[in-house]
Amino acid sequence: MATSAPLDTDVAIETAEHIVFRYRVAGPARRLLAYALDLVFCYGAFAIVAELLVAVSLGAERAAGVAEQVSAASVGIVLVMLFAAQWVYFAAFEGWRGRTPGKAVFGLAVVSTTGRPVGPRAAVLRNVLRAADALPLAYTAGLASVAALLSMTMTKRFQRLGDLVAGTMVVVPDRALPMAPVVLWPPAQPGEAEALPEEVRLDAEERQAIEMFLRRRARLGRARELELAAMIAPMLGARFGSRAVSDDPARALALYYHRDAGGEARQDARNPGPAADRTAT
């Protein structure tokens, strides 16, 4: 919509088809949670296999002579797994599916800054660079990664050093579902319909703002709902030159919105949907 840069964390991607779509960039907090969860998965799996190896070694102790060899070999396997947990897990999952299990849980995905899926090379690069992102406290599993946080605060796509080098970013690729239209409930009362001006003209931004408000009002809390609605309902009322259509500014906005939609307000009133205008996103 907005032609100027919006005040949010979206990144616009222009495709070869000259279509611009937006990705919401993931912030450090969500990414840190996903990272912590990945560490749990990764080292949890590691711990389970390590336990099994211990069990096997203990079992081998009863068998004659080979106990030492088996337990030593187990240590070798554990060390290789430790390496995989540190260096392979993230790169492999991101190269394969574009997201680690932890990222999947938090609805995150890695894409290139041009909006394409991350390739295997970029996936490995951005994860090898974790070693630099973890500086200066390099051996704390990266949870206290000062360099990464600094880099993320200084780049507009929240890129850590690995993202900068590999040309990637972490986004929240939420797929909106087609939503039911906002329904006026209860239907316009005779008094309200009378008070409404014949013609209500809202421009696109106003319509969208009011629609967003109507979809979200159920989650706002009554006081906040009224506070927000009171900011624009009187303004619109003055513009349309009508007397107050309702004591409740939120209700007034709903009425304006539906009157703007022309005959549909009446149509919706006849067939109120089950969720009425409490249709949340």
């Binding site: 390496f83 290139s112 090379r121 690069l125 909106a176 629609e211």
Partner: protein, 338 residues
């Protein structure tokens, strides 16, 4: 233009079926990942995608409701990701596995030669301290202890003085190979990654590892086990130390691409160079995995010292020849591998 809600409803009604079809295709592709789409869906996909692009444009231009535009944007983004997935940002081409392996084997030495200045600097940064540590430890009994904790040094002398016993079995070999993978590949990757700090991190790790390695070899030699340690390290050192130097060189190159970006912006220069130099890092990691196997299972075996030294010497020549000569015939040293 004031948008009419009636026209939006008509628009959605007219187009909804195709959006649903595209959405189903995308979800199906997510489940069939790697196997590709069935031919019928494949031939429909491109027109569906183009149409949804046009729909998004139209919805944006007409100022339709935010939720509709959000929905179309999400759909377009997913379709875009699927359509361009195979490019993967790497310009991936369909190749047989054999051809891909062959290309990778040739790409590694080519990439090393493209960055030969950085590799030479890394070589110096590693081997100057190495020689310094070696000579220092040979000349002074207290020198090595200042570089490496003495508690680590003493067991090494005992181990090397003891020679290559028969008491260490395959299990212990596997243990050590695992340790070398974890430790050495980790060092190499860290050595590369920290190069982003204008090359300083790589330089630090190169000097540190060179000094420590030199001091240990010198210390063990000074304690009379020089022959044994030579026999031990000759097999894998060309791979292992070579790979550390190459990874460090890759890190230096990474740092230099920020310092001296040429005609590009610093970020573009960094990204382009990282993509190119990552081939060296992958190659170095592969070398270290091989080195770990050699070090765990061959270097520690009780084969005659002469055999180990001859084989180690030959392996050194093979490594040098591979890095300097492999892939040269195609005269493509200058062309980056994609």
């Amino acid at each position: 233009m004031t948008p009419s809600k009636a026209s939006e409803v008509a628009f959605v009604e007219a187009r909804q079926r195709e959006w649903g079809e595209l959405d189903d295709t995308i979800r199906a592709a997510g489940k069939r990942r790697g196997k590709g789409l069935p031919p019928a869906a494949l031939s429909r996909f491109s027109p569906l995608y183009r149409d949804v692009c046009a729909d998004l444009s139209r919805a944006q231009a007409a100022g339709f409701s935010g939720t509709l535009i959000d929905y179309l944007q999400g759909l377009t983004a997913s379709a875009h990701a699927l359509l361009y997935a195979d490019a993967g940002g790497d310009g991936g081409r369909v190749r047989s596995a054999g051809a891909a392996i062959r290309a990778a084997i040739e790409a590694f030495p080519r990439a090393v030669r493209r960055h030969k200045v950085a590799m030479a600097v890394a070589f110096v940064l590693f081997f100057m301290p190495f020689v310094g540590g070696l000579l220092g430890a040979l000349a002074s009994h207290t020198f090595a202890a200042r570089v490496v904790p003495e508690a680590q040094l003493r067991p090494m002398v005992e181990a090397y003085a003891h020679g290559f016993g028969t008491d260490r079995g395959a299990g212990a070999d596997a243990e050590m190979a695992g340790y070398y993978v974890d430790n050495n590949v980790g060092i190499a990757l860290r050595c590369f990654a920290t190069g982003i700090a204008l090359g300083l991190g790589s330089a630090f790790y190169l000097v540190e590892n060179g000094l420590i390695t030199g001091a240990i070899v010198g210390y063990v030699t000074a304690h009379g086990a020089g022959g044994n340690i030579l026999t031990f390290i000759v097999g894998h050192s060309s791979l292992e130390l070579g790979a550390i130097v190459l990874a460090g060189g890759a890190g230096l190159s990474l740092g230099w691409s920020i310092v001296s970006p040429g005609a590009r912006t610093r970020l573009e220069s960094l990204q382009a160079n990282a993509r190119d130099v990552s081939t060296v890092v992958f190659g170095a990691a592969a070398m270290l995995v091989v080195a770990a196997a050699v070090e765990g299972f061959w270097s520690a075996s009780d084969l005659p010292a002469a055999v180990k030294r001859v084989v180690g010497g030959l392996l050194f020549l093979v490594v040098v020849a591979y890095l300097t000569l492999a892939g040269r015939d195609r005269a493509r040293d200058g062309a980056p591998w994609t």
